[in-house]
Symmetry: C2
Subunit: 652 residues, 2 copies
């Protein structure tokens, strides 16, 4: 079978985590009658492969990810049946499939994570494992490009239940892994089967003669196809992604499953309305996150005003009413998703790791689209807190659900029957550098502050900082390619705009502020040194009063880090600790058992908790006693002695 | 088939809700080597059939129960497949069974509820419906007495999965319905098939030759058999109940289901240890409640010290660490049961209606066993709050789960796939009078205060009171059968012991206090009038500091009633309301839309809640504004405009 496609564009790469291509794909975008396009900054992300993290915060996590997590994923894929499913399919077996319908996606996402690791440095063991699994995928793939081990082994009719069976979702993860792998290694071992499958999907779905409509119950294929379009330069994949996004909301699931339209609520599947009609983020949180990522990719191409307005509405609902202080989203176990405004529970918070990842992805995309730092604030909060919490410090245990308080019984697991989160966490940690920098024509954007280096294309940056524990950041510019450009340094929202900056030791009092960035525009020479100081007081956050379970409580934060209190650090039960209004909390010592994460310390009051007390009694004045309190970053919790944990602490 | 049994003891009736027989069955009790027996007060409950409730609180609920709920149950049994299951079984059909395995129990429990109603007054419509269903049960029953429509229609092997399939549980509910019906009407329409089935079970299970061991995954048969023994005077049923209770904990479920003993945790099934070894209430809440009810029935017979000590431990854990302020128990959706001490969530509270009922049943039994009012305090709290909340004011919608706070999305349903709660609520409301009075040799106990009459055997009591809205209770004694006896009036724990009492207008300053009762001992004449005044200030309850979600909050209570705030009564969002420490709350007007339930009113402060506020922001001094606050009894919530609700309110 000959696949028609353009030669790859030189340097074409992924939009999400570090494209070096121009942000827009450059395809004609506006069909007749489409609304006018908005002018958008459309920054280019700097690929994670151009960024080296050499700090005390992320670099150890990337090392653990490479040395422990990725090998753990490979082991679990063997143990849990993912590999044997592909072996069954390759053997054309008709029985013996194991696990839920979307098992293949876990394997693809693990390959994606492994490929991200390979994009940073060679690793023979991982490369060999990837090649072995890629060969297995090719062996399982049917001659026309179809590959889905569940459907093949169980003998189901292809694409017969798009709502529930995740075939296109799995295909999307194959495509993403393939693009990452090809970018990282130049190998076509995954790319070739991914292209064959993408072409089959492209022949099957669409508005052409003999093609069918439909869309996957779980968005993902859309993101993947847009990445593939960017990587290959082949417009068909972009058009197909757009087709899927724009078909969604035609309520085909109702028709396919015999649900009367007047009784159909497609919200869970993001099928409640057409893409431009969404008024708030709703439904299954990961599905929502991925869909709106695809919508923002489309908006980046088209500048479609209606799409941009929809994304604004969705963004506002997500960040102003429907996300957790720890950076994640999705309140309810019931639908793994959204409920109502301000329903942001603590013990009951769902905050699935994948949902937080999808919010970080969306925030990053919108930040690049609008060139506005406030979006990156949200990505940073997600990455440094709820994403980080998803994986244990040894790299082999994962949270699927991330509550904001625990009685001491919620712990990470090595794997899940639905194992979407472990490999998703692994790939975002490996690709983290892709969130840090971006460029425009004559601008270099510094979005995250991580010690290390970045080759931005306009100049190489050498960054020295103890961030997130310290707000002083020194950026040395090396070998500027263009002598005159603006260095735009994000001024985080949490800093309330307070920032001191110097260039080569001289205060840069004339630096402008634009869309949340400090703009240092000048003719740069090799060795120019920019110093930025972000103040990092301990902050006491309070929630909107309609966040019922946080009422009367505060969360502690410093810089981008949101803290929690774990029982093993306290001398009184965490539920009894009160942070008095006047009491100062300070940056405490590094905690050696938490990779040196910095604690917060101070004095709290404890409501007494003698076990002889009545369960309920008439209120009487407490005799609170002063006790030390110690808080640790939420992203590091549940790595020591198990016990109760709280993010929201009683406020005195 | 001839069933050997003694003639019914004259007047023999149920131990639970109003026996007129002696409390103990009088069978020989102590096998060789059994520990010494404790001397126990062992009060006799006054049957609900001897009690007429003519108040403004319960009487309307009983009317609604009779006029709306019981007919609703009958309709739902038709609609949901319960009746057709019996028709299928009667027709010896081998397909067409509908619903979960325990469907029969819903029908039996509905019959039990209907029979309770018939025990209060004749009702031709209900009686006819009961007879029709009883005929259907007899038609479905197999010649040897076995009846279980699921097993019969599906052709399963009897008693082949005792852990999961609820056959003995269903049998128990048939037996209970049969006893209630026979007591209420004298009809043997249900009693005969129940006896046939009980005899089959008695032949099948036991330690005799050819008999098998085992016990049901869900306790219930034990209670039922003890009732049947009391009702028939046939010791076999008592011995069989004791056999089941004492077999439990031998971990036969592990053996039967191939679970290695070192990996078996039978806690969910109350199979983690032998009956006398329980150290706390744990596992599935309803199973626990029913099992310990059976254990207390056995303890009442035997006075078994080890059993009594176990019940003490279980009771303490339930009431001191594992029950809700609204009177129910069972924290977690996960196991419909208990988790850890002080894990008593608010939004996430499970507090299944049936679990609350089982706690009321257990509290009542232990109260009678020990003649101690503190147990009745717990029964009263359950009955007046979490039990009452289970059913809507129109009698046709029910809560299965009873959270202590809601964002406004938790509402009653007309029925559930697992429909244990609706008929359980109906039967406890109909039989409520059985909780109110008890007697001993020369004592009449007044446990609940409900306007109406009670024929206690020692005297007829005429009670006038506006309880629970007012603490003044007037009891007129009529036709005392024995001139000298003690009237023992419960002094509720919530009254802190403060009580004023008068006999015929004269202060009874010499009245003793024994085990929570005011003891008025004298030679009574017809027309003697006892007045009791219980003070009813509004109380602000606080929880033990380890109840994390209640920390910094208060619950409002007055008398036995626990209040909540519903959005439809407030001028500010309920989550923003703060009850200041110094602010007085008063008994407010009757709420006409809540059957005249009395509200609490006062002034609260509201944390501002303008929708333009940030979701999270740095803590700053609030500018609270004064707003009226109005609270309604928890037992009446979700009967008006849907909206947020909270029991635990921020304390200022």
């Amino acid at each position: 079978m000959t696949v028609r496609r353009r030669e790859f564009l030189a340097g074409a790469t992924l939009p999400l985590l570090g494209a070096t291509r121009s942000w827009t794909l450059g395809f004609p975008t506006a069909p007749p009658g489409e609304p006018a396009a908005a002018p958008l900054p459309r920054l280019r992300p700097v690929s994670y492969r151009q960024v080296r993290l050499r700090d005390s915060f992320w670099a150890p996590r990337q090392r653990i990810n490479r040395e422990a997590t990725v090998p753990h994923l490979f082991r679990e894929l063997e143990r849990a049946g993912h590999v044997s499913n592909f072996e069954r399919a390759a053997a054309r077996a008709k029985e013996g499939y194991r696990g839920p319908v979307y098992m293949d996606s876990d394997l693809y996402k693990s390959l994606d994570a492994a490929a991200y690791v390979l994009g940073l440095e060679p690793n023979a063991g991982i490369a060999e494992h990837v090649d072995k699994l890629a060969a297995l995928i090719r062996a399982a793939q049917q001659p026309d490009g179809y590959v889905n081990t569940c459907y093949q082994v169980k003998g189901r009719t292809r694409f017969s239940n798009l709502r529930d069976d995740h075939e296109l979702y799995c295909a999307g993860h194959l495509i993403e892994a393939a693009v990452t792998h090809h970018q990282a290694t130049g190998s076509r071992a995954l790319l070739d089967p991914a292209l064959r499958y993408a072409d089959l999907i492209d022949r099957t779905f669409g508005k052409g003669p003999g093609q069918r409509g439909g869309y996957c119950g779980h968005p993902e294929i859309e993101l993947a196809l847009i990445r593939l379009a960017g990587h290959t330069g082949d417009r068909r994949y972009y058009d197909l992604a757009r087709f899927f996004v724009e078909q969604r909301g035609t309520k085909q699931f109702a028709v396919e499953h015999g649900v009367p339209l007047d009784r159909y609520d497609g919200t869970y599947f993001l099928d409640q309305c057409r893409i431009r009609e969404h008024t708030a983020i709703a439904g299954h949180a990961v599905r929502a996150g991925y869909l709106f990522c695809a919508a923002s990719d489309l908006a980046a191409e088209t500048g479609d005003l209606e799409m941009l307005a929809m994304l604004d509405r969705v963004w506002q609902s997500a960040t102003e009413r429907r996300s957790f202080v720890t950076g994640g989203m999705g309140s309810s176990h019931h639908n793994e998703g959204f409920t109502s405004d301000y329903d942001l529970p603590t013990y009951g918070a769902y905050q699935e790791s994948c949902a937080t990842i999808s919010l970080a992805m969306l925030a990053h995309r919108l930040g690049l689209l609008h060139g506005d730092a406030r979006y990156i604030d949200v990505a940073e909060r997600a990455l440094y807190n709820a994403v980080l919490a998803g994986v244990s410090l040894d790299g082999t245990r994962f949270f699927y659900v991330n509550p904001l308080a625990s009685m001491g019984t919620h712990h990470r697991e090595p794997w899940y029957d639905t194992a979407c989160c472990p490999p998703n966490l692994a790939r975002i940690v490996a690709g983290l550098g892709g969130y840090a920098y971006a460029t425009a024509e004559r601008d270099v954007y510094v979005n995250l502050f991580v010690q290390g280096t970045a080759d931005t294309g306009l100049a190489r940056l050498e960054v020295m900082t103890e961030y997130p524990w310290d707000g002083r950041i020194t950026i040395t510019l090396r070998e500027p390619k263009t002598s005159s450009f603006a260095l735009r340094v994000r001024v985080p929202g949490w800093s309330a705009g307070d920032v001191v900056s110097r260039v080569n030791g001289q205060p840069s009092t004339d630096a402008a502020r634009e869309r949340g960035y400090l703009v240092l525009r000048r003719t740069w020479k090799d060795g120019d040194r920019v110093e930025v100081e972000l103040p990092m007081p301990v902050r006491r956050l309070e929630a909107h009063p309609l966040v019922a379970e946080a009422a009367g409580r505060v969360a502690l934060a410093r810089g981008p880090i949101v803290y929690c209190i774990e029982q093993c650090d306290q001398q009184a039960p965490v539920s009894t600790l009160v942070v008095p209004a006047g009491e100062e909390l300070r940056l405490g010592p590094a905690e050696p058992r938490l990779l040196g994460a910095r604690t917060l310390t101070g004095t709290a009051r404890s409501l007494e908790g003698a076990s002889s007390e009545d369960l309920y009694r008439e209120q009487r004045p407490r005799q609170p006693r002063s006790v030390p309190i110690k808080a640790v970053p939420y992203g590091f919790w549940d790595n020591r002695e198990p016990g109760p944990m709280q993010v929201w602490i009683l406020a005195g």
